[in-house]
Symmetry: C2
Subunit: 226 residues, 2 copies
Amino acid sequence: MTTTPLPPPPDPPAPPPSPASTVRRTAGRARYDEAAVHAVFDAGFVAHVGIADGDEPTVIPMVYARQGDRLLLHGSVASRLMRHGAVGFPVCVAVTHVDGLVLARSAFHHSVNYRSVVVRGVATRVADPEALAAGFAVLVDHVAPGRSAEVRAPDRAETRQTLLLEVPLHDASVKVRTGPPIDDERDLDLAVWAGVVPLPVVPGPPIPADDLPAGDLVPPAVVTHP
Amino acid sequence: MTTTPLPPPPDPPAPPPSPASTVRRTAGRARYDEAAVHAVFDAGFVAHVGIADGDEPTVIPMVYARQGDRLLLHGSVASRLMRHGAVGFPVCVAVTHVDGLVLARSAFHHSVNYRSVVVRGVATRVADPEALAAGFAVLVDHVAPGRSAEVRAPDRAETRQTLLLEVPLHDASVKVRTGPPIDDERDLDLAVWAGVVPLPVVPGPPIPADDLPAGDLVPPAVVTHP
């Protein structure tokens, strides 16, 4: 949710990890290095997860966090993902940050400034109790750093209701667009405003729950987000 | 991108349009009426589009706009969607607005305030030249109202490079969560802050392109967005 620029690309640039992850359209905007992949995932916490059932696609928004070189996806055992069972199944997970509207002098050159990451892989269920507990803590700390140590940890019944999936991050691609519109030479004299409208996510003041004792301090985990 | 509340649900509530679109998990958050579906789409302009190729899912972020009871998806003829040819193919299109972080006293009851819409349907290519021209105008006006009349319209070569897909909106579902965390009775006395951190998108001041004459006024289409 921050608009922090990505780290500089490695030299030489990392190659595409697979044919499926190779960016074809506007390939100059693509990155394949781990630092870029991690940075785009770390800047958000809601992903769109695609699954396929024959030729029928399904896209589900899910809360996620990164744990090293894998992505953790958080769901419920009541969700339709459970129909895919405990065995692994192919997923395509996309996270897109919309950073700004790019308004050009022609309709055609209108664009969007964005950071986008797509990972393909096999999602498997995290079943080991210790890995589950660690994963839950990573998810909570991802949205509010340090908070897993403040709150009550999941009990056995809550753990049973929660579905945690992991997806390796090695087959991923990043696309980024930044900067002003790129107008055709022929359009530069048109009497049309051109430029960028930034669209940052700006966290508002925290709203305490009604049942919180008056005067309670907002802890660092909350005020420092995101 | 606005956090405008949805219109009130109809009485009686609209039923799910199909088994695939029936919300199973936290079904009390679901809406199926046209007003809710339109409102969630209209509040954004980047969707995540899922397609399936056998059991291999792909998710692509795409710019969209709503035109009546159909969704227009904007892409390039160079994109991998073109591999699906000019005939229709099944898609699942999701748009999610993340409105806030919901921080509870237990890890388990942490949540997200959001408005989410998912539509399933067959995407077909818009080929008629007049429908294409109208569709491009809808897309530009959706991100900056009135702007299609200000800018240069697409010429023939630009039109040929642009892929416009349409998806009917009749098989859609909306899910919404609002409000404070819902903690267990047993956790209310824990010394943990609980509440909501709002995460609105707040447009920043427009940044004029470097090649714009100094002193140019920002037109209403820009300042009124979103």
